[in-house]
């Protein structure tokens, strides 16, 4: 599991690569939270284009980061989910809370 974060004038993008499950979610959560708290970006896009697997642990991960971004006055969005990841997102109803592009 790999996380690459880049930022352009307060708009941050985190590109995640690998598989998101309960085992991997913890380190991703810690890394994203450290960044959000330190950098306070006005927006953070989680790019899932390189995610090869995600179960409901990913939903918890997105929900938690969305909440933290809101608390810090910013907004979270999700980008580029593959079709099978989109199915998990859809089932969770998370698209009502977080913008998915």
């Amino acid at each position: 599991m790999k996380v690459d974060i880049s930022s352009d004038r307060g708009a941050a993008v985190a590109v995640l690569s690998g598989e998101i499950d309960h085992h991997n979610a913890k380190s991703v959560r810690e890394e994203l939270d450290r960044y959000i708290i330190a950098a306070q970006p006005r927006s953070l896009a989680i790019d899932m284009g390189r995610i090869t697997f995600m179960d409901s642990s990913g939903i918890g991960l997105i929900m938690g980061r969305s909440k933290l971004m809101k608390e810090c006055g910013g907004i979270l969005e999700v980008r580029n989910p593959q079709p099978y990841i989109r199915r998990v997102l859809k089932l969770s109803g998370i698209e009502r809370i977080v913008k998915v592009n």
Partner: protein
């Protein structure tokens, strides 16, 4: 239940084994030549069941998780995930979408919902202090070859 082929995989309840369980299922299913979607549905359901055992069944302790995969007649896949952990006191409540006993760990409460919607059949048997057995079935589309 006419079994064409089967495997049994036993692992300690370590979170790193969630991906090992998925890999075992994927390898076994190659012989059925499943679609990308079928394979991804089954892997995701197995991941949820094994994660439940790791996170909930053996909370604060550890134990073994047994994964059985069977290929039945007419391309039906049978999956059983069995633990000897704490058991589920109220199965209906545990199966409610978004119900979780571990919100502080960001568990979404969607594990059983995922299993239910990605597989054809789901059954959960549990006894407090004895353990939980989750059984799932999914029939694959007829093989084009």
């Amino acid at each position: 239940m006419e079994v064409v082929n089967s495997i049994k995989f036993t692992m300690p309840s370590l979170s790193v084994n969630e991906s090992a369980a998925r890999a075992v299922v994927s390898s076994f299913l190659i012989q059925t030549d499943p679609t990308v979607e079928e394979l991804s549905d089954i892997r995701t359901a197995v991941s949820e069941a094994v994660t439940n055992a790791v996170v909930h069944a053996y909370r604060g302790t550890s134990g073994m998780i047994e994964l059985t995969v069977k290929l039945l007649r007419d391309r039906e896949i049978y999956i059983r995930v069995k633990d000897r952990g704490c058991g589920i006191p109220d199965i209906s409540q545990a199966m409610e979408p978004l119900f979780t006993t571990a919100p502080e760990e960001e568990r979404s409460g969607l594990g059983f919902s995922v299993m239910q919607s990605f597989m054809d059949k789901l059954s959960v048997r549990s006894a407090e202090g004895k353990g939980t057995t989750v059984t799932m079935r999914k029939r694959l589309a007829p093989n084009g070859n």
